[in-house]
C-alpha cells in the first residue's frame, strides 16, 4: 500500500474470567448452616494447642493436627474489634459499594480474628479493642453475608 497513515497507539479492553464454585467442605458447611439456622457462630478447637480458630478449619494452623466436627465449639456472638480500615474506592471484588469499613473481629472465646463489615457507626468513633456485636440478615442463605455487619455494642 503506497499511503503511509499514522495509526498511533491503540488499546484493547478484555477480561480474564473464571467461572468456578467454592466448596465449603464438611466443617465449613456446618459453620454456615449453623449460622443460617441458629444465628450462632462455631469455632474449632485444637486440643493440642488449646487454641480456638474462627472461622473453623480442617487442620490446626499451628500444629497441623487433623480437626473434626467433634472439635467445634460455640463462640461469640459478640467480640472485639482488633483493627479496621475505611475503603474509599470500589473494586468488583468488594461485595459493597465504597465507602465502607472493613474490620477484623475476634469473637469471645476465639483466638483468631476474621474480616467483616463494620457499620451503623462513624469511622471517627471506632477504636481498636472496642466491643462489637453481629447484625444478621433476615433471609439467610448459608454464606458469610448472613452476617450483615458488626456494630459497636
Amino acid at each position: 500500500m503506497p499511503e503511509e497513515k499514522d495509526y498511533g497507539p491503540f488499546e484493547v479492553d478484555q477480561h480474564i474470567t473464571a467461572h468456578s464454585r467454592y466448596y465449603a467442605g464438611k466443617i465449613g458447611s456446618l459453620f454456615y448452616t449453623t449460622l443460617r439456622d441458629h444465628k450462632k457462630f462455631l469455632g474449632i478447637k485444637c486440643e493440642t494447642c488449646d487454641k480456638i480458630f474462627w472461622p473453623p478449619r480442617g487442620t490446626c494452623g499451628r500444629c497441623f493436627s487433623q480437626l473434626s466436627e467433634a472439635d467445634m465449639v460455640e463462640i461469640g456472638p459478640n467480640g472485639i474489634l482488633e483493627t479496621f480500615t475505611l475503603v474509599t474506592y470500589h473494586e468488583p471484588v468488594h461485595p459493597r459499594k465504597a465507602p465502607f469499613i472493613y474490620g477484623i473481629i475476634k469473637l469471645d472465646g476465639a483466638d483468631t480474628g476474621m474480616a467483616h463489615f463494620i457499620d451503623e457507626v462513624a469511622f471517627e468513633q471506632l477504636e481498636t479493642g472496642m466491643r462489637v456485636r453481629p447484625v444478621f440478615e433476615e433471609e439467610r442463605k448459608a454464606n458469610i453475608l448472613d452476617i450483615k455487619h458488626f456494630k459497636p455494642v
Partner: protein, 166 residues
C-alpha cells in the same frame, strides 16, 4: 468397602472471578485493528525473506524470524483449515461471558494468507455438515458497532451452495 451415607448438608457457592484489563495492541496489531474497525478490511503482512503472509500481523515472521515490512490487504473469504465442536462453554475474552455450547469454532485461512485465524463459525454443530476445505466468508459487525477488537468479526460462515466432496 462401604461408605456411610452422608447426611450433612454441604454448602457450595458459585463464584465468578472477573479481571478486566487493558492491553496496548502494539504497532502492528494497532494498524490491523484500526483498519478492521474503520474500513472493515483485513491486513496481513508479508515476510521479505520467505514471502509467507501472516494474519493477524506480527512484527517478526514466525517461520524465519526476520522483520516483516510489507503490508498486504486480504479479502473477506477463505478456506476452513480445521474445526472443533465445543461442548463446554468458552469464555469470550472480549466480554468475559461464556459462549453457550454447543457451537463450532474453526481455523480459517483467508485467500492469499499462509497462517490461519481462529474464530467462531456460524454453522450447526453437526460433524456431517462441516468439513475441512469448506469456503468461508467473514461476517463483520456494522461499522457503527465496531469497537476495534476481534469481536468486530461476529463469525465466519460458509458460502452458500457448497457440497462436501467425498
Amino acid at each position: 468397602m462401604t461408605r456411610e451415607p452422608f447426611e450433612q448438608e454441604l454448602v457450595s457457592i458459585p463464584m465468578v472471578v472477573d479481571v478486566p484489563y487493558r492491553f496496548a495492541a502494539g504497532k502492528y496489531m494497532s494498524r490491523f485493528l484500526i483498519e478492521l474497525r474503520d474500513n472493515g478490511r483485513f491486513l496481513g503482512i508479508r515476510c521479505p525473506s520467505c514471502n509467507r503472509v501472516q494474519m493477524p500481523p506480527r512484527i517478526v515472521c514466525a517461520a524465519c524470524h526476520v522483520k516483516n515490512t510489507e503490508w498486504v490487504e486480504l479479502g473477506q473469504e477463505g478456506t476452513l483449515a480445521g474445526f472443533t465442536i465445543m461442548y463446554l462453554p468458552l469464555t469470550d475474552p472480549t466480554t468475559g461471558k461464556p459462549h453457550k455450547p454447543p457451537f463450532t469454532y474453526g481455523s480459517v485461512r483467508l485467500d492469499g494468507c499462509d497462517s490461519v485465524f481462529d474464530h467462531f463459525v456460524n454453522i450447526e454443530p453437526d460433524i456431517n455438515k462441516i468439513w475441512v476445505g469448506m469456503r468461508m466468508k467473514a461476517v463483520l459487525r456494522s461499522k457503527k458497532q465496531r469497537t476495534g477488537d476481534l469481536s468486530d468479526i461476529i463469525y465466519f460462515e460458509p458460502i452458500e451452495g457448497q457440497d462436501k466432496v467425498t
